[in-house]
């Protein structure tokens, strides 16, 4: 009997499932964090040191949970380090050093990200229409490459901001341009996770559409508005809260965007359009639910963090500022969506339509408030 109980224990405890590569990855992240603390610790206040430790733990956890992250994250870091090496501490080299000018400076990296996302969208559609496994794999590869370029670009931009001036340097999540890059990145990465998890590459054709739309905005914002310029932080944004509030929010936005695009796909399948090429409606439905559940969690956290930040910066955790109010509306919208699904057991078309509508509400909270309404949270204007 002893023998029996060991043979069929196919699900050992979590830590027993970890391989050598998992531990090596953890060691790498940990040493990077320790190095950072050792070298820059004197510039960090207690909260920032806490965020550093939390990020290290979070990144290790993410790598263990999602194996692809174990190579994606270090690779992006490595590319950024290459860029930093090329700079030799001189921002002017972005226009002269070949590697920086065409590949690695933050703006070049981000432009590569934009290009690769466009290509990936195109290929996802070709793969979908031609039922080609190979094209689908290439599309996924392009999406991964775009994500590497994007994250490396963000890291490099972070470094460049310090080259402009030590008092100007800050994490690049402080204005509309930067968060749009973040949005593309997070949406693409979350999608790549679901794609692998559900072995449904055809979803990419839809999800990458919303990423491409964001990329289009980035290009317009760069070329027409020169919004890519690094600006120093106004006093209200000089806070460690920004490092956690903004990314948490964009996990929410990204997830809601994915859900909406899957809603579109599901509605098409239900009408019989592309039905033979797309995954079954149930699968789309399940991924949509998962995306909204994770988005709702992070959006809740982000809104709470935002409230706590507001309590430090604006004098109250809730002032019914337009941004706060619209965050509440988005939250109520998805809270109602989840209630209807979980308690009433709704499935299918109504919820898919609702998820698509949710994207409009979310977009208004994200962009519309900045464009049409004035308030305290005016950090990105068009």
């Amino acid at each position: 009997m002893e023998l029996a109980s060991t043979t069929f224990d196919p699900k050992p405890p979590f830590y027993r499932q970890l391989r050598l590569t998992d531990w090596l990855y953890a060691l790498l992240v940990l040493s990077a964090a320790v190095f950072t603390f050792y070298r820059y610790g004197s510039y960090l206040d207690g909260y920032e040191a806490g965020i550093l430790a939390g990020s290290a733990i979070g990144l290790i956890g993410l790598g263990w949970f999602w194996k692809a992250w174990r190579w994606y994250f270090p690779l992006s870091g490595l590319v950024a380090l290459a860029a930093i090496g090329l700079y030799q501490g001189d921002l002017g080299r972005a226009q002269t050093a070949f590697g920086l000018k065409y590949l690695l400076s933050s703006q070049s990296s981000i432009m590569w990200m934009c290009t690769l996302f466009f290509l990936a969208t195109l290929l996802y559609w070709m793969a979908l229409l031609q039922r080609s496994e190979l094209l689908g794999r290439i599309a996924a590869g392009l999406t991964w490459s775009a994500s590497v370029a994007g994250l490396a670009g963000m890291f490099t931009r972070w470094y460049e901001s310090y080259l402009i001036g030590p008092d100007i340097g800050h994490i690049p999540v402080s204005n509309l341009y930067e968060v749009f890059v973040l949005f593309c990145l997070i949406t693409a990465l979350m999608y790549l996770y679901y794609e692998a998890r559900f072995a449904a590459r055809q979803m990419g054709a839809f999800v990458l559409l919303v990423v491409s739309a964001a990329v289009g905005f980035i290009l317009w914002y760069t070329f027409d508005r020169q919004a890519h310029e690094i600006q120093p932080l106004i006093p209200a944004l000089q806070s460690w809260w920004m490092k956690i509030h903004v990314p948490a929010n964009f996990i929410g936005y990204g997830a809601f965007a994915i859900a909406a695009m899957l809603g579109v796909a599901e509605l098409m399948v239900m009408r019989g359009w592309l039905a033979s090429r797309l995954p079954p409606a149930e699968v789309l439905d399940e991924v949509m639910y998962k995306a909204i559940a994770v988005g709702f969690l992070f959006f809740t956290i982000a809104t709470i963090l935002g409230a706590m930040w507001a309590a430090d910066a604006w004098g109250g955790y809730w002032s019914w500022d337009p941004k706060e109010t619209w965050a509440l509306i988005v939250w109520l919208n998805y809270a109602a969506w989840l209630h209807i699904r979980l308690v009433k057991g709704w499935r299918g078309a109504p919820l898919a339509w609702w998820a698509v509508g949710g994207l409009f509400v979310t977009s208004f909270a994200f962009l519309g408030v900045n464009m049409f309404l004035s308030g305290l949270h005016s950090y990105g204007t068009l």
């Binding site: 109980s5 706590m308 004098g315 109010t325 109520l332 979980l342």
Partner: protein, 672 residues
């Protein structure tokens, strides 16, 4: 369902409605829609703004609906209260059942129901009871055995915390709402409703504000603002309240020692900080601290925030040049920014209303050419550049003021203190406008080598003084003759022209000359004649300066390029001063900056509850979505073993798990 024996009463029906989910969803929808109103219509503006925007009828209608402060209006708070009631009743209604379910193992589940479960399978052979128990325990199930007449059952479950998530998330909402209500201004609204609190609408000194507009320092929750000048103190804050304001007494005195403001090199603000001292009224205990944006100070449960800043009334010093008496020396004039003082000039009475003193004026002085003209390469270059070169310039201190005449007509001025440099020459820049909506129109007065207006004013006085024209015309005529520009016969006529042009110019500058041309000279000749006039003016202006200097006992001006340019600028400025609608030119000579800091003070005892509720909400959501409640049964009878599994969420993981358990069970049966 069996029909209930007696009809449900009205109370029960109401209870059922309030605790139902459709009611809750309805409320969520209404709150969402109502919230939109408050974001579209700007909230808590001064009432006259609304009246102006909507007209009297709609203003009254919207006021009645409470749209100017939607989130504190009675109806909105009522909906929120309903949400709290609905959520509470939902907990009351579903809670006991959920608790029972969390405790129960459903070991009494009937064979039929096990068979009907979506995940259910029958294996031939009986599994060993001990081994099955060990296996399920190793899989994380908590077990309860049950005996049946024809065999036994082992019921297991895990993930009961999922139900706990329901409690956490829903109780969290109630907790957050209660915290929010504690910090809301409900008591204040009730006070206003019953007339015990009356907002003050007049602009009174703080000490004269009547008691019914004052709130004691014992007030549990408030959020108010106060502006304090440097070296000044405040022991109250002001609360916006509909049509007026209320005064909130503080348990301490706040003194502003110094206000700091720092800028980045591109003119964006970098730091706002106030050095304050808080003195407790009861104990006299002093707390000194620096309050910055994002770094409030908390004293006695009152948080003090850096909210805004501005001029706190700075002493100013001017040189006043009397424009109507150009020969007169300037007189010293003193004032204070943000204050009004009477002014009597040339027999007329004015009110001089000083605006804000701005010590820094960082402006972008024209950048690169815009889009259309740029090539692709340039655009790519720019797109790569995260740091754009900008031509920024600090124009130095400036003061705005309004000069209001006896009829109440006001003109607004904006005077810069520092010389504005252009191509080696210095100017004093002054802006003027008669409508607040218009942009300022600027004029530049040339400064001499001592950076003083004296030379220009001397030039102007000579230009405007007809008694000097003979002498000026004589000198200009002689020079023209000496340079063979005119013949001897022409000299007299030429000198008359000079005098005539000077007289015209003195009347109204270039505009007067142009007006004459338009009235008297045929169209086709105007350009030519105008050119002659300008030439003569330009030719005579060095002599004007020389005569002016001679009258003041000064040496004649040097005849170099810089001086000539100064003189031409002087002509332009003299002409422009004709449109300057003030009898005086106030040249800002000095100031002593006194800044003011806008502080926001809040007391919000509900914050802790709100944060506690938020934490519970997050825990609740994680438990609800990421803990899966799974129940499992192993039922042995008549030489057969049934495995059944059920969960509150069905997804692919569950199928895989069931397959795994089924396989394990088969092995166990074989092993037995």
């Amino acid at each position: 369902m069996t029909p209930s024996r007696r009809q449900p009463g009205l109370a029960y029906k109401v209870y059922e409605l309030l605790s139902s989910m459709r009611f809750a969803i309805g409320l969520l929808t209404i709150i969402a829609i109502a919230s939109v109103i408050g974001t579209v219509l700007k909230q808590n503006e001064p009432y006259p703004n609304y009246a102006f925007e909507f007209g009297q009828f709609w203003f009254t209608a919207f006021e009645w609906l409470g749209l100017y402060d939607v989130y504190h209006s009675g109806w909105f708070l009522t909906i929120l209260a309903f949400l709290v009631v609905s959520t509470s009743l939902c907990i009351v209604r579903n809670g006991p059942g959920f608790l029972r379910e969390m405790k129960s193992f459903r070991e009494k589940a009937s064979d039929t129901s096990l068979e009907l479960m979506k995940h259910s399978t029958l294996v031939a052979g009986e599994v060993d009871r001990e081994a099955a128990g060990r296996y399920l325990t190793a899989q994380g199930f908590r077990l309860r055995p049950g005996e049946r007449e024809d065999g036994w059952v082992l019921a297991g479950k895990k993930g009961a915390a999922n139900k706990l998530g329901y409690f956490f998330a829903h109780i969290a909402l109630v907790v957050i709402c209660i915290g929010g209500l504690m910090d809301g201004n409900l008591p204040l609204k009730l006070g206003e409703l019953f007339g015990t609190v009356v907002p003050e609408t007049r602009d009174l000194p703080q000490s004269q504000i009547p008691a019914h507009s004052r709130l004691g320092s014992g007030n549990l929750s408030f959020r108010g603002n106060v502006t304090i000048g440097e070296s000044r103190s405040a022991d109250v804050v002001f609360l916006n309240s509909g049509k007026g304001y209320l005064v909130q007494e503080l348990p301490f005195i706040v003194t502003l020692k110094k206000f700091h403001v720092d800028y980045y090199s591109n003119g964006m603000p970098k730091l706002f900080a106030s050095d304050i001292v808080v003195t407790d009224k009861a104990t006299g205990k002093e707390t000194a601290a620096t309050v910055k944006v994002n770094h409030p100070l908390v004293v006695d449960g009152v948080a003090i925030y850096q909210a805004s800043f501005g001029d706190g009334g700075s002493p100013l010093e001017f040189k006043a040049w009397n424009l109507a008496a150009p020969q007169a020396q300037p007189v010293k004039l003193e004032g204070t920014s943000l204050a009004t003082q009477p002014l009597r000039v040339n027999g007329q009475s004015y009110a001089l209303e000083f605006g804000e003193l701005r010590v820094f004026n960082i402006e972008e002085m024209g950048g690169k050419p815009q889009s259309a003209s740029r090539s692709l390469a340039e655009r790519m270059h720019d797109a790569r550049e995260v740091k754009q070169e900008k031509n920024l310039k600090n124009l130095g201190p400036s003061i705005t003021f309004k000069l209001r005449d006896a009829q109440g007509q006001a003109t607004e001025f904006q005077h810069y203190m520092a010389p504005f440099q252009e191509e080696g020459a210095s100017y004093l820049v002054a802006g003027m406008r008669s409508q607040v909506s218009e942009p300022f129109q600027y004029l530049r007065l040339p400064l001499d080598a001592d950076q003083s207006l004296a030379t220009f004013m001397r030039l102007r006085s000579a230009l405007l003084d007809p008694s000097l024209y003979d002498e000026i015309a004589r000198r200009t005529g002689a020079r023209a003759r000496a340079g063979n520009a005119i013949s001897a016969q022409m000299q007299g006529e030429f000198e008359n022209s000079v005098k005539w042009i000077l007289a015209r110019f003195a009347q109204g500058g270039f505009v007067a000359l142009e007006k004459f041309l338009d009235e008297r000279v045929p169209k086709e000749k105007r350009a030519e004649v105008a050119q002659t006039y300008v030439k003569i003016l330009q030719g005579t202006v060095p002599d004007v300066m020389a005569v002016a200097n001679a009258r003041a006992g000064l040496p004649p001006p040097p005849s170099d390029k810089a001086t000539y340019r100064f003189l031409l600028d002087g002509l332009v400025a003299t002409s422009a001063l004709n449109d300057y609608r003030a009898p005086l030119f106030l040249q800002l000579e000095g100031f002593q900056q006194v800044q003011a800091s806008g502080l926001q003070l809040t007391r919000s005892p509900g914050k802790t509850l709100v944060y506690l509720g938020s934490l519970m909400l997050v825990i609740g959501i994680i438990l609800m979505f990421y803990i899966r409640e799974v129940r499992i049964w192993i039922r042995v009878r008549n030489g057969e073993t049934r495995l059944a599994l059920t969960s509150n969420r069905h997804n692919r993981d569950l199928d895989a798990d069931f397959a795994r358990h089924a396989k394990a069970l088969q092995q166990l049966v074989r092993g037995a």
